[in-house]
């Protein structure tokens, strides 16, 4: 019941941000190509559990605030995020469904906050991301994440640590992400 007002409060700044000079500033649309790109998983390996683990992870961004994009534009994005909008400097909420397999199989969901900072070429060449959140599934745990991404964020290497996730407390993920 309270989700509507909360979402409205979060999105209002996007409306209020409209510049006096009114640049062309639509939110990017969720095209079919974008949807297909979101289906591509990022492979990962798990360590520190009862056995070596492997997994696949998907990524969604319910809300992002970009502090690196051009100042006349709305800094808010929901789900569809242009690479440079994220890589040039941003804070985002993330939700990552994840399939992990070792001695047993497990679906978990990671959720939390990522902050991305540009390193080279405004983040288009290299950016650094750090984050924190939680893992939710058969087991739950707090977690931290960090990683570097290259080629406008399309390719990244991320590590995460969730001490109470006994299947794989530590993971290393080769992140594929296009938008």
């Amino acid at each position: 019941m309270r989700v509507g007002p909360i979402l409205a409060a979060l999105l209002l700044p996007a409306v209020a941000h409209a510049s006096a000079e009114k640049p062309y500033d639509p939110h990017p649309p969720p095209t079919l190509y974008w949807m297909l790109a979101q289906l591509v998983p990022s492979p990962e390996l798990g360590f520190g559990g009862v056995a070596p683990a492997a997994g696949l992870r998907w990524q969604l961004t319910p809300l992002l605030y970009s502090f690196g994009m051009y100042r006349k534009l709305s800094p808010w994005r929901t789900f569809v995020v242009e690479p440079l909008t994220r890589q040039s400097g941003s804070v985002e909420l993330f939700v990552s469904p994840e399939y992990l397999t070792a001695k047993s199989d497990e679906w978990i969901v990671r959720a939390g906050v990522h902050a991305t900072f540009p390193i080279l070429a405004r983040g288009e060449k290299v950016a650094f991301t750090i984050g924190a959140g939680g893992c939710f599934g058969a087991e739950s745990s707090a977690e931290i994440e960090a990683g570097f991404s290259l080629f406008f964020g399309a390719l990244g290497l991320f590590v995460s640590y969730a001490p109470r996730l006994t299947l794989a407390p530590a993971t290393a993920m080769l992140r594929f992400r296009w938008f």
Binding site: T31, A37, F67, G68, M69, Y70, L73, E82, S88, W178
Partner: protein, 277 residues
């Protein structure tokens, strides 16, 4: 990487002093679509690429950058024609950031800029901005927008017309041959003193024809625009096609000689300058 397979040759000409004290219209070719246009006391830089590699190192310059960015004059306008890596280079903009007064982009293009200190505006087709007496207009061309392949909704590409002190310069950016657009630009803003037009990549033609002019089409565009002079661009700088070395330049020069246009078409080398008036 492709970049490792290509060596960058030093430019034949170096632009040690890009600004002239007295020039009504002068143009320096920095390579690819990067042109420094001086109209009296105003300086306009088009599609600045002042680095040796683009696209994360995937494409490498064949000829080095002929100017130290620190030697460039204060830039009244930087014109970005579209969002491809060989035209919008964020690395290059960082190098000239303190010198840029304002950047102009096609409608929708600001989202690819990031938060540089200089002012930036995006122009819709046929929209004109008057910047202290210099008029800059976005004019339609035929190309593709986007930068990251999946951004298929983006149609941020344009040509520009710059008018100042009675001088009118047409800069197409990348374009396929678009007779109606060229003629309409000429009808509205002609006659042009100068047209800066791309002549490559040529091959594979079946792919390139819908987005890039070859030398024959560039000369046709020159005629459609009714410009007095033409300087070709967008050739011999990056590895971006199956063209033979100097194929576009040599083809253009052969056509120019055959049509008796030597006095009106000036082919510059990278780092070379033409003082036209």
């Amino acid at each position: 990487m492709l970049a490792a397979c290509v060596t960058t040759a030093p430019p034949e000409h170096r632009l040690a002093h890009p600004a002239l004290e007295h020039a009504h219209l002068a143009v320096s070719w920095i390579g690819h679509a990067t042109m420094l246009v001086q109209i009296d006391d105003r300086f306009v830089l088009t599609d600045p690429v002042l680095v040796d590699t683009i696209g994360g190192g995937v494409s490498h310059r064949k000829v080095g950058v002929p100017v130290d960015p620190n030697d460039l004059p204060p830039l009244d306008a930087v014109l970005i024609s579209h969002m491809h890596f060989d035209h919008l280079s964020l690395d290059s903009l960082e190098k000239i950031e303190p010198k840029v007064r304002r950047a102009y982009m096609p409608e929708g293009g600001l989202v690819y800029l990031t938060n540089f200190r200089f002012d930036a505006v995006d122009l819709a087709r046929w929209e004109t901005v008057d910047d202290r007496g210099m008029q800059i207009t976005a004019v339609p061309v035929r190309h593709v927008g986007g930068r990251y392949m999946l951004d298929t909704w983006m149609h941020a590409f344009t040509g520009y017309v710059v008018r100042y002190h009675g001088v009118s310069v047409y800069f197409s950016g990348d374009t396929a041959y678009a007779r109606d657009d060229f003629r309409e630009a000429a009808r509205r803003f002609g006659p042009f003193d100068l047209a800066l037009l791309p002549i490559a990549p040529i091959h594979p033609r079946a792919v390139m024809e819908s987005v890039h002019m070859d030398p024959t089409e560039a000369l046709a565009a020159f005629g459609d625009l009714g410009a007095r002079r033409m300087i070709p661009m967008h050739f011999d700088t990056f590895v971006d096609s199956f063209d033979a070395p100097h194929e576009a330049r040599d083809t253009l020069m052969r056509l120019v000689r055959a049509r008796g246009l030597e006095a009106r078409v000036t082919v510059l080398g990278i780092g070379e300058r033409a003082v036209l008036e």
